[in-house]
Amino acid sequence: MPHSLLVLGAWVTGFLTLGIFSFLYKDNPLFKITENLYVGVGMGYYVSLYFFQVWTPLVWEPLKEGNYIVIIPSIMGLLLLSQLVPKLSWLSRYTLTFTIGYSCGLAIPMTINTDLLTQILGTAKPFANIANVGGMDIFNMIFILVAVLCVLTYFFFSVESKGAVKKVSNVGIYVLMAYFGAAFGNTVMARFSLLYGRFDTLTKYSHAEYLYSTPIILTLFVIFFIVKHFMDKKKAAIAAEAEANGEI
């Protein structure tokens, strides 16, 4: 890729990233520009991607080669668009029925197998090997089993939560709290990783190689906000004066 294009890319990236980040200060026109650009470019990207990587190789090319069977799924896909015409919207039900039936047929047995049966087995199976593992592993096995039973008790609504059931379900609440805490910690970690990714890119584009795109754009943003602040203040003063004079 020519260097001039890389530099242009750095300036565009810097402007868009800082434009989005500017919302952290307050809503502003620069944020609106970048937000609308994101939506528009995203839509254009997906349309071109589906046209060149889905429609052309999976529909157009086979048709050219005389493979007319692709007409059936294509028509079924087009029937979904009939929802746009209320009188014809019933046609889309055929496609939906096919899709839901096909997906459910695959998903229901796999969900029961993967998320239920195998997980139950996974909780119980380690006990078969209890003689060959260390103390910490035994503690983990027992802890997981007790935690699973306590959480299940918490979600068991057929028995009134009082006495022993309440005590067990309270332990279940603590287990859930621990899970939520760990999930929150991981969420913070993930969000900072994404933030780091952007900051690392912006730092890279701060160098002379990219004509100092980040510091220059940042400075322009700061100037914009200072000017806008004073202009807004002036407008507010004029409006207040007009109100005081009874013009509004």
Binding site: L24, Y25, Y46, L49, Y50, Q53, V54, P57, Y102, S103, L106, A107, M110, T111, N113, T114, T118, Q119, L121, G122, K125, I144, Y179, A182, A183, N186, T187, V188, M189, A190, F192, S193, L194, L195, Y196, G197, R198, F199, D200, T203
Partner: protein
């Protein structure tokens, strides 16, 4: 004290954003060099599984992430693929995420640049993007070429040396899924459990907890979680194959600081709220 506590609870959050920016920027500009001291069990399992695969085995590497989660997932994919290359395995890149094709091309170029002796079509290949996951992975169980007659650039796949002897999942050794979406579970459901192709993967730190039970049951052969998972993998590649550590290790050295800041803020906020309850209010 009372004023300080009131300041903490009523502080404009924009000051926190500014403080956070400074805390992240300083270590980026002046990097520290902390080493990865411990390797978590799911990451070790992933490494060991790949390390024991026979040479020339065929591996599907699905890059199902877009620019939104790229900072976390790209280093994971890179570390895993470097290991696959070092082990002389055949790698087919694939994706079901519309935002990924551009990333996949960049990824392939990066791998070929790191390993100049590897050739496209012989050691690594890119399958084209497919929009419908379920139909595609179900068909791969019977005939790869029915779903992927050509590679991402339109070249016939069955003429490439990398595809020699590959017809369906039975001829493959492993599927690796890199994603922060529910596609991850779908790979376990439909490829791992249904067609018995071993699956391992990398995911974002947020979703890592949800997938951990699958590692315990063996449905996942290993799991890399977030930037830390990638950094751990890089550390193992560095120790065993003398490969240079990459972006994940660098980023973890930076991320330690904002993590400590958040820890400090959480503790201070709790103290402020806790003691704030016992402070006499003005109206009292």
């Amino acid at each position: 004290m009372k004023r300080f506590l009131a300041f903490l609870t009523k502080m404009d959050r924009r000051w926190l954003f500014l403080f956070l920016t400074i805390v992240i920027l300083i270590p980026i500009i002046k990097p520290s060099n902390m080493e990865m001291k411990s390797i978590s069990s799911p990451v070790k399992k992933a490494y060991d599984f790949i390390d024991t695969l026979p040479e020339n085995s065929f591996v599907l590497l699905s890059l199902d992430f877009d620019p939104g989660t790229r900072p976390e997932l790209y280093p994971q994919a890179l570390a895993l693929c470097k290991h696959l290359m070092k082990k002389n395995l055949r790698v087919a890149l694939t994706t079901f995420n519309a935002g990924a094709p551009g990333i996949m091309t960049e990824f392939k170029d990066s791998i070929l640049q790191t390993f100049p002796e590897k050739k496209y079509g012989k050691d690594i290949v890119m399958f084209p993007y497919r929009a419908v996951f379920l139909a595609t992975v179900t068909q791969l169980a019977t005939d790869v070429y029915a779903q992927y007659p050509d590679d991402a650039d339109g070249a016939p796949l069955n003429k490439m040396p990398i595809m020699k002897g590959i017809k369906n999942y039975k001829d493959m050794a492993l599927a690796i899924e890199i994603s922060g979406t529910t596609l991850f579970t779908s790979w376990i459901y439909y490829v791992g459990d249904k067609y018995h192709l071993p699956v391992l993967g990398g995911t974002t730190a947020i979703t890592q907890l949800s997938y951990s039970p699958y590692v315990q049951t063996g449905q996942l052969k290993g799991l890399l979680g977030g930037m830390r998972g990638a950094a751990e993998y890089e550390a193992m590649l560095h120790d065993n194959y003398q490969l240079e550590t990459g972006d994940a290790t660098k980023s973890l050295n930076v991320l330690n600081w904002p993590h400590m800041l958040v820890f400090l803020i959480a503790v201070l906020s709790n103290i402020a709220i806790f003691f704030g309850k016992f402070m006499p209010h003005k109206e009292d």
